[in-house]
């Protein structure tokens, strides 16, 4: 449902006319559903792993994620009401990123939790690659990231604005 709401925001941004109108109506409905489901999923997560929520209080990154969740959802709601298309997409992106950052910060250092016995869980500290390899990888990774981010910026600037079916790059018709 969250992906559908996020995608509806993207369609509001990229399209116009009847498709945009329907996407806007759908986005407004779906974000209300996401809000309701967020409460349910948060309660379920607390029921399954209560220690994640208690551990959150000691982790600044988890707080950053929570700010993203609350700020992103607020921005998405406000932007859809005022039809501020780009802000709506930024808001839904911040919401999803916030959820994931809060989750990643909460579970750390346990990367794969065992439901059978806590001692079977896989920890990042015990199962990371050798330190020398990680140090070398820190040299090549920023280079790769520069290429990835550079192309990311280029492609988004190149394809900015509204789309038309005739400009569909995946289809000749």
């Amino acid at each position: 449902v969250t992906f559908a709401a996020h995608g509806a925001n993207a369609l509001v941004l990229k399209t116009e006319g009847a498709v945009q109108d329907r996407s806007l109506r759908t986005a407004r409905f779906l974000w209300k559903t996401v809000l309701a489901l967020l409460v349910v999923v948060t309660f379920e997560s607390w029921h399954v792993r209560p220690e994640l929520f208690s551990g959150m209080t000691h982790k600044p990154m988890a707080w950053l994620g929570l700010i993203g969740v609350i700020g992103g959802m607020s921005a998405a709601f406000a932007a859809l009401q005022r039809k501020r298309e780009l802000l709506a997409v930024m808001g839904s992106s911040a919401f999803i990123a916030g959820l994931m950052i809060a989750g990643a910060a909460s579970v750390f250092p346990i990367m794969l939790h065992s439901t059978l016995a806590p001692e079977n869980s896989i920890s990042a500290y015990q199962h990371a690659a050798a330190g020398h390899g990680l140090a070398i990888a820190l040299v090549w990774w920023p280079v790769s990231l520069i290429f990835a981010v550079g192309y990311f910026v280029f492609i988004y600037r190149h394809y900015t604005g509204k789309v038309k079916a005739s400009a569909d790059t995946q289809s000749p018709y």
Binding site: T2, A10, L112, H113, T115, S121, L138, Y156, D168
Partner: protein
């Protein structure tokens, strides 16, 4: 060092889910917001130049996981074997449906590929959601560092 690589790994996954989420969501809604064939093509045009690029972040995530936490890669890929294959199938079918549907003049075939497009996006959303849910909930990991589930999750609490 380990914290840095965990942060890098999380960053790659966040980028993939946020960007791919746009494509998956738009794909799920293709028949909701597109009532005519031209409108449905408009939905594909909206994600057309970007969807394949967004998948690069998944490749990057896999590469970082392989380099930094190879044990977790091995254990999770073995345990989530069927789910990962379904994910690959959904990604392949989504790509094929985008490419092929516009090249067919026959309305029946074009509709069939549009349905495949929507179905693969729905499947992707379910699989990614279930994978993230399993990470939070945990898996039946034994002392030997292995686990298997009947499907890939039992969806229970």
């Amino acid at each position: 060092m380990i914290e840095i690589w965990y942060a890098i790994l999380s960053f790659m996954l966040v980028m993939f889910v946020v960007l791919e989420g746009l494509d998956i969501g738009a794909g799920i809604l293709q028949y909701v917001v597109g009532k005519t064939d031209a409108e449905r093509r408009l939905v594909i045009a909206a994600i057309g130049p970007l969807w394949s690029w967004h998948e690069v972040w998944l490749v990057g995530f896999g590469g970082v996981l392989f380099v930094s936490f190879p044990t977790i890669l091995a254990v999770s890929f073995a345990g989530f074997y069927l789910a990962l294959f379904l994910l690959l199938w959904a990604l392949v079918l989504r790509g094929v449906s985008i490419e092929v549907s516009g090249h067919l003049a026959d309305p029946l075939w074009r509709t069939a590929w549009h349905v495949v497009f929507v179905a693969s996006n729905v499947l992707l959303a379910i699989l990614i959601g279930a994978a993230l849910g399993n990470v939070v909930r945990g898996v039946p990991l034994g002392a030997d560092g292995k686990f298997t589930l009947a499907f890939f999750t039992d969806f229970s609490l």
